[in-house]
Amino acid sequence: MYKTDVRGKLIDGEKSLSQISQEILAPIDAKTPRWWYIAMGISLVMLVLGVKSIYITLTEGIGTWGVNSTVAWGWEIINFVWWIGIGHAGTAFSIFLLILRQKWRTAINRAAEAMTVVAVFCAALFPLMHMGRPWLFFYIFPYPNTRGPLWVNFNSPLFWDFMAISAYLLISASFWYFGMVPDFATIRDTTKSKIKKAVYGFFAFGWTGSSREWLRYEGLAFVLGGIAAVLVVSVHSIVSTDFAVSVEPGWHTTLFPPYFVVGAIFSGFAMVLTLVTLMKKLYKMGDFITENHVDAVCRILVFISLIMGTAYITEIFIAWYSGSEYEMYTFFKNRITGEYAMQFWGMFIFNALLPQLFWSRKVRRNLWVVFAISLFINLGMWFERFNIVVTSLSKNYLPASWAEYHPTWVEIGFFVGTLGMFAAGVLLFFRYIPQIAISEVKMISKYNTQQTDHLKPGHHHDYE
């Protein structure tokens, strides 16, 4: 049980149920603020740059990128892994915290899930464009095709990846959507606008809140939650296998799957922290996303950051302990020192050291510091992927084929475009969808006051 007297209130102010609906739905009913248009404008400009880069890639080919035969994977794979990692938070929030009965997740899970869906879309664009001829992407589907009954290679992690990401996208989107159905019904039943009533009514799927609906809804949530938990672990394990099955120094390690999964959840939680800080400040959702929520996320980040630090050190230790001179070279001459040392130390400091500040309660309760650290963690996680992809590839076994990698503006534009797409998606979410799961927050509102029910004989906890 969430102990209000120990961990603080989950909802500030004594709110009635209808107040909860009204306050969460306020951004949907209110006039769109000016900053929203400005932010949307900037996002769209970024998106246009991305579209232009994609157009150039499509019409002229991969040669417009900075990748070469030695560093065959560049920013695209870095960004792909980065976005997929960010996309892990939604499911982690909704599912792990659902299974662990963490009541504080209710104020944040909707935003995390929305972010997941947009981030996975952004991620999927990169491997698609990296194919060179993306219009033939359907070749990955395992179907008996016109080139003779030739099947895809079921043994390849790249194929597993395709399956995992498609499944992950579909499942997180449906989990997100079904969570919103009761809230859409609330909008349908409380709004005064006829257009909104019709539109949200359509998306509410005829929800009435009857006990039959709730019973099956809860059953569905647990089934989806239970199986998607497996998916969170499998998706990033598979992404890591793309690397780990190769005989490449710095990649060929069994540490990769857990290291990638934990890293993914780390970056996802950091991005959630960025978003909820904005929701607190820009949309005045501070009563629902209290300091206690931010505090809880920060505590998790401290813990995950320690795991990240352990993983980094383990990698270095094993490189030395294995006695393999290629491993030694990669880690000691091409990561810790050498031309890519900045990216290595950026990664190490931002991911393993900086979040240690969250041990201090003062830091956890200072929203601006939390916001800044969350941004640094995202940057650090990007450096981590750069570090893995580029340093290992640039100096391979044959010094004659060593090469440097510099991104071209097409690659940078592509990345900026996905940032714009993500920002635009999040802004649309802020504007048109309840940012917080209304029905779930109503459910926990009763825990806000001291509960005495559990003292009565024969009382069954509904949260157990």
């Binding site: 079921f154 009761p182 799927f205 009857s210 059953g219 089934v223 989806l224």
Partner: protein
């Protein structure tokens, strides 16, 4: 068939009064047609005695999915188009496991969602049969069918009101 149904609607302001009144009504043998709440309340779900087998259904969808997927991969890799990779076996089962897990999860999700949609009659664009429009906002509604409730109207009105109902009213419905 369209019939005129007469309902009695009890409106409650919070979960506690709803649960009390619900339990007392059940104890008196009142037949409750349906309860509408802004969020799931487990005592009510238990009390209504509905059962859902959605998790069993999901299990069988999974069984079906995993058989179909492993069977499909076996067919592709061994029967239909075997490829020789330096003496490795055609049936490379361990590397089928990952796809089997992921695709099984996908199968379970899609089929369970469909089952939920069909069994709960929840689908895009459906017009909601709203009894009391406040039930998705802040009111808790107990609905009784006047023909089947097994108690007289004044008695049940009295029961609800003495247990904290903020309103009790009659409603006629022309649907089903």
């Amino acid at each position: 068939m369209i019939t005129n149904k007469k309902y009695l609607v009890g409106v409650f302001d919070d979960e506690h009064t709803l649960k009390d009144a619900f339990q007392k009504a059940l104890d008196k043998g009142v037949v409750i047609e349906e309860v509408y709440t802004p969020y799931p309340i487990h005592e009510i779900l238990h009390g209504m005695k509905y059962k859902t087998h959605i998790s069993h259904a999901a299990f069988f969808f999974g069984l079906f999915g995993v058989t179909a997927i492993i069977g499909g991969m076996y067919y592709a890799a061994v029967i239909d188009w075997p490829l020789l990779f330096g003496g490795k076996p055609f049936n490379t089962f361990p590397s089928f496991i990952v796809v089997s897990i992921v695709a099984t999860i996908l199968t379970i999700t899609i089929l369970t969602l469909l089952t939920f949609s069909i069994r709960s009659k929840i689908y895009p664009g459906k017009t909601a049969d709203i009894i009391d429009i406040r039930a998705t906002d802040d009111k808790f509604i107990i609905l009784l069918d006047q023909d089947k409730m097994g108690i007289e109207i004044p008695a049940v009105t009295q029961l609800f009101q003495s247990n904290g109902a903020s309103e009790v009213y009659q409603k006629e419905s022309t649907s089903n």
